[in-house]
């Protein structure tokens, strides 16, 4: 039927289009690059490329003393810096067999939970930006300012603090924190309700997020997910309840759990966690025990030989520190387990077969921070 030197359409070489969503992109959180093979509007394969923010923190730790290394730990997950510091200090304290006094533990809980609220507000803003609404970003950062003002009078910084030390905290909290927090507690729930009206009840938003990126429990266990990603699929697992640290067993709070495992559930879980964190901070400030704010720690910190792994519930998931000490001033090996690294690996599995717009939204729901992923 056809002549011999005509090219049939089936014989033409064809391949899927490869698009590079490069490190400079308004919507990948930080410098993250992924190469997507797309067929029209559907994604066939995603190949993530990380390492653009690698600073070699684990290697630097082998050349610094324990006290000198502590300010660098802030810079891992810079949206929730105090949680990282808390985990590191708990790890070193476990090696040295020191326990922080009750007042220090309560102050640490206040810091960690306030930081959780601040980090989830960034998530709220970024979620709006992924779907195309510009306003939630500004609203989220506006409310974050109040929390950062509290941190400024308490810890001395707004983004990186160096406040929680080995054995306690660096300084006592001034009484103005109480006034600031009472004002925040009165005004913020009203604003949160309004922001929920803006985004959570919005039909367009619900259509974008519901039934997108559904992840089942078994897959999440296989990939090592933790934090709100795990809780959004119905697994009621929170390290603050399972292995309580720093006095969390004294406080009364619930753990929000999602049902479907889609992006909308993970969003709702984080919004509910903001309210639970406010409960914890209110309880901690009401029952603040008196006493020392730091324990007696030797001048030069030389833990005995041994190794330890301590984990806690960071803002994005499980943060863990594994420290091997040979009795020196410097750690022999320090490994950091971060949630963002595990979650980014899930992107190919979660987003293949969906539209490009959905892949961006799924990445936003994992809430990754590249400082934490690349270390």
């Amino acid at each position: 039927m056809y002549e011999e030197n005509e090219i049939l359409l089936d014989d033409l070489p064809k391949d899927y289009m490869e698009v590079n969503f490069g490190p400079h992109h308004p919507s990948t959180h930080g410098v993250f690059r992924f190469i997507a093979k797309i067929d029209g509007e559907r994604i066939i394969d995603i190949d993530p490329v990380i390492g653009y923010l690698h600073r070699g923190i684990e290697k630097i730790a082998e050349n610094r003393t324990y006290m000198q290394f502590k300010p660098l730990v802030d810079r891992l997950d810079y949206t929730g810096a105090l949680n990282n510091e808390l985990c590191y200090c708990l790890a070193v304290e476990k090696l040295m067999d020191i326990e922080a006094p009750p007042r220090a533990q309560a102050i640490r809980v206040i810091c960690a939970e306030l930081n959780r609220i601040a980090a989830h507000l960034i998530f709220f803003g970024a979620m709006g930006l992924e779907t195309g609404a510009f306003t939630p970003l500004l609203f989220g950062f506006l409310d974050r300012e109040t929390i950062l003002n509290i941190f400024e009078i308490m810890a001395g910084g707004r983004l990186t603090f160096n406040y929680i030390t080995i054995g306690g905290v660096r300084e006592d909290i001034p009484p103005a924190v109480r006034t600031y927090f009472d004002k925040f507690k009165k005004e913020f729930p009203v604003k949160l309700k309004r922001y929920e009206e803006l985004i959570t009840g919005n039909e367009i938003f619900i259509k974008r997020l519901k039934n997108v990126g559904i992840l089942k429990k078994e897959d999440l266990f296989n990939w090592g997910a933790s934090g709100p990603v795990l809780r959004g699929s119905g697994v009621k697992f929170d390290i603050r309840k399972v292995e309580p640290y720093s006095g969390y067993e004294k406080y009364d709070f619930d753990i929000p759990v999602g049902t479907n495992g889609d992006v909308y559930d993970r969003y709702l879980v984080r919004m509910e966690e903001i309210k639970q964190s406010m409960r914890i901070v209110a309880q901690a400030l009401d029952n603040l025990p008196s006493g020392d704010f730091t324990a007696k720690v030797p001048r030069v910190i030389k833990p005995p030989e041994g190794e330890v792994y301590v984990r806690n519930e960071g803002t994005k998931g499980e943060v863990g520190f594994y420290i091997v000490s040979k009795g020196d001033k410097n750690p022999y090996r320090l490994k950091i387990r971060t949630p963002s690294f595990s979650h980014i690996n899930m992107l190919n599995f979660a987003a293949s077969g969906n539209y490009i717009a959905d892949a961006i939204v799924i990445l936003g729901s994992f809430d990754t921070v590249m400082g934490s992923c690349d270390r």
Binding site: G128, T131, G132, T135, N202, R208
Partner: protein
Amino acid sequence: MVWWSILLWALLKLVIAFLFIFITALILIWMLRKIMGHMQYRRGPRHHGPHGIWQTVFDTIKLLGKEDIIPSGVDRWTFIWAPMIIFVPSLMAFVFLPFAEKIVATNIEISLFFILAIMGLSIIALLMAGWGSNNKYALLGGVRSAAQMMSYEIPMLISAMGVVMMSGSMNLSEIVRAQQHIWYIVPQLVGFFIFGCASLAEINSTPFDIPEAESEIVSGFNVEYSGFRFAAFFLAEFVNLFIVCALAALLFLGGWLPFTNPVYGTIFFLAKTYVLIFAVMWVKSTFPRFRIDQFMNFGWKVLLPLSLANLFVTGVIVLMVDKFRGV
């Protein structure tokens, strides 16, 4: 002697329309930045001029002064002509818009038909920009925009036909005159809603701004343009916004009525247009955007049947009213 005075008069009207368009585009960009700023608890531009009025002028001058970069590997003809072609439909549509009882650049009997027809020409310019940029993001953006604009042309036209049936003519001045008893938004509420959604899709404004979705494909077809070519796309978007809101004000909100005096009529017509523009900017600050398949669903499965039903019901009612009156 007479022919060159006609030519001069026509050229003068053209120049006035041109100037009006540019000044309107500059005012609209300033308005968008201020309104979006205030809706986000912040101020917009403040520095240049009182309340930042000259900010857009300086921005345009800056854009005009930038280096003209043409990437290698582009299709030169399409890349260079796309930003110039995008202005042509807007300018042509502008010539037929009436501002008051007798103030219109050119008055023809089918002005509504002509405006709606040439607004469809801007699809070509977006496709040229998308294809000619030698960039995958631009290609995605251009193809998306072609699909979007074609799908939403039809509900826009059909919802405008309801107004034409009620007024009996396609001349925009006649349509406004026919609204003396009641503005057409009251009987044609559904048509107004459909016309609003469809025209938001035509001008690529949120929630239908998929072709230039900033968070996914980083400005879509705009991505390789810089300098005055980008300024052309940017200004053309706002000129389209003005034209579409002016059309909505003429068709549904009664144009310049109840003032027949040219000065008051123009002011009232512009006031109505700017109220509609405020509403569009309000929506732009609030809503997220649709996904591509969701809004094709919305266009073809919701708006099109709704507009056909609107047309049917309007036709039946007009026939019955005419029969009742014995015409």
